[in-house]
């Protein structure tokens, strides 16, 4: 298909560019298929991101940030400003975590912002706990490539798509939530690509040199496409199993005769027998 060839071409070109302006990962080196690279100018990109209005109107609503190298500087700034956020562990292997930024001692912000340091301060949070909490005002991710129409692409694993869909399924992301993609200019494709149905459309693309609002009419709520899970790395994740239990069997409104937890226990037992 012409679109597939095009995206592959773009990705190859972008990866070549990233080797010049990007930064290798501590462990994955230049294997760009294994991580989202930090890049020159990511600090300015972070400035631009934090200039967006959404940060001043958070209220009780939450922040989600991906565990990308390109979002590390943003994490550092939020820690320094005592803004808490939710993140996933790398590859979502150990689920979601939340960082109460006030638990990071002064002087340790840059450390806590790294993936290595994050493990010392962030606390695991279950989907059930997230579901019981406040919705998300803003979700920030890095990426491989993004089109001007706000469609991300590239040989990604689809982690952010999954994270967005999972949080949506839990009722935590509404159409007011702001989705931000932080990338280097070389990663922005000056073309309006149509995405797949399950692609997440971003609200802002932010680079070191520009802040690009994406114009869209509303946004489809994120949905996990359960049929696409088997055979992928998502199949074996604990979060996937937990999400299945939470969204496939339980009403959100509590019943008079049972607590939600008891209901979930029953559904889980039923599922186990199947």
């Amino acid at each position: 298909m012409a679109t597939v060839d095009r995206t592959t071409q773009y990705r190859e070109r972008i990866w070549a560019d990233l080797r010049k302006v990007g930064r290798p990962d501590s462990r994955f080196h230049w294997d760009l298929s294994s991580f989202i690279a930090d890049f020159e100018g990511s600090d300015i990109c972070t400035d631009r991101t934090l200039d967006l209005d959404v940060w001043r109107t958070l209220g009780n609503r939450r922040v989600f940030i991906t565990p990308d190298n390109s979002t590390e500087e943003l994490r550092k700034r939020l820690i320094a400003e005592n803004v808490p956020f939710v993140m996933t562990t790398y590859g979502i292997q150990r689920g979601f975590v939340e960082l109460d930024s006030t638990t990071v001692p002064p002087g340790e912000e840059s450390y806590a912002a790294t993936l290595d340091g994050m493990d010392r301060y962030a606390v695991p949070v279950s989907l059930g706990q997230l579901q019981a909490g406040d919705p998300f005002a803003v979700l920030v991710t890095g990426g491989t490539a993004v089109s001007m129409s706000g469609v991300r692409f590239g040989k990604g694993h689809g982690y952010f798509d999954f994270e967005y869909a999972a949080l949506s399924e839990l009722g935590l992301v509404d159409s007011d939530a702001v989705l931000i993609d932080m990338v280097h200019d070389c990663q922005v494709v000056d073309e309006h690509l149509d995405g797949e149905p399950h692609d997440v459309v971003m609200d802002y693309i932010v680079t070191p040199t520009r802040t690009i609002p994406v114009h869209r009419d509303g946004r489809e709520p994120g949905r996990i496409l359960w049929d696409l899970i088997p055979g992928t790395e998502f199949e074996r994740l604990e979060v996937t199993a937990e999400l299945r239990r939470l969204v496939q069997t339980v009403d959100k409104a509590p019943r008079a005769d049972k607590t939600i937890d008891a209901e979930r226990q029953d559904s889980f037992r039923k599922e186990e027998k199947e």
Partner: protein
């Protein structure tokens, strides 16, 4: 079921297998069961067992399985690296892998996950519970006190120690993970205080230091103390396991460049469960052994400067607190 005879002296009667391994539908394939049984036996062998495994006919009789099933099981273990089949000579144990498998089971209870590799211990050297006690032990030693430049492996278990080195004004040399981008040199006099912890992480260290490539290792200058973590360590001072596969290369490069020599103190930091009793017949043992430091004990003696050749003698039979 266990055989009643050890692998070393199976007294086999052809018509009386010592125990039967039968395939029951719903259970794993027969060759898998046999390979698990064989693995269990191999892991129980001495770590320097240099004889080949008993011959095929003996093993076939031992378990009452076909030649094909046995071969399949042996191939399975050869595939994982635990066994190696040498044509015409027999099947041998790879003791490096043997130790790795023994220790890996134990690590689950004490090891901390890596930010990216999580609990896949073959890919990294983990930090572990009570590692702080090892840090205190090392920092109390005169070799640490006197060291101006410390080489520290890029192991998670050494992150805190690396930070302490910088705090105490010691120059730090840390190879990049997998030695993919050379050695990082961290100069504590130019790293701001708010970046010390960052500089001790793999994620942050390259931003906080300068890089020296392998051909220029000489420019590292003299290293006074070498500290490493490990997947496993033997009581006779060897580091073992895939987590430190690059350490031997780094040591070799540094010895060639004169940056370290046999008198350079060298230390392995591991949890007690990662220590196996030596000697271990490793593929590529280090000629200069390490002192092994765990939360409960210190095993081995450090070399006295200028007494390089006698270190081996001192190490042998030293198996208590230093």
């Amino acid at each position: 079921m266990r055989p009643t005879n050890s692998l070393r002296n199976p007294k086999i009667s052809p018509n009386q297998p010592q125990f039967q391994v039968e395939h029951v539908s719903g259970e794993p394939p027969l060759y898998v069961q046999v390979s698990r049984e064989l693995e269990r036996m191999v892991l129980a062998l001495p770590l320097d067992h240099s004889d080949p495994l008993p011959s095929e006919p003996k093993l076939i009789d031992l378990w009452g399985v076909s030649r094909g099933t046995l071969r399949h099981a042996v191939n399975e273990l050869a595939r994982t690296g635990l066994l190696r089949v040498e044509q015409g000579r027999g099947t041998f144990v790879n003791h490096d892998v043997q130790v790795r498998l023994i220790v890996r089971e134990r690590l689950v209870d004490v090891a901390l996950p890596d930010s990216r590799f999580h609990l896949d211990f073959d890919r990294f050297v983990p930090d572990f519970l009570d590692r702080e006690t090892c840090d205190a032990t090392i920092m109390a030693r005169p070799e640490w006190e006197a060291a101006q430049t410390v080489f520290a492996a890029p192991d998670n278990s050494l992150e805190h120690l690396r930070a302490q080195a910088l705090v105490q004004g010691k120059r730090l040399v840390v190879p990049t993970f997998g030695l993919l981008r050379g050695y990082v040199v961290l100069d504590p006099t130019v790293i701001p205080e708010e970046n010390i912890l960052l500089a001790a992480t793999l994620d942050g260290m390259e931003r906080c230091g300068t890089t020296v490539d392998s051909p220029s290792v000489e420019s590292l200058g003299r290293i006074d103390l070498l500290v490493t973590g490990a997947t496993a360590a033997s009581s006779d001072g060897q580091h073992i396991g895939p987590g430190n596969r690059f350490l031997s290369i780094e040591i070799h490069e540094m010895e060639e460049a004169g940056v370290i020599d046999a008198s350079t103190p060298r230390v392995i930091v591991v949890h007690d469960c990662q220590v196996v009793e030596g000697p271990v017949a490793l593929q590529r043992p280090e000629s200069t052994p390490f002192v092994v430091i765990t939360p409960t004990r210190s095993i081995g003696q450090l070399p006295i400067a200028g007494v390089g050749a006698k270190v081996g003698e001192m190490m042998r039979g030293t198996n208590g607190n230093s």
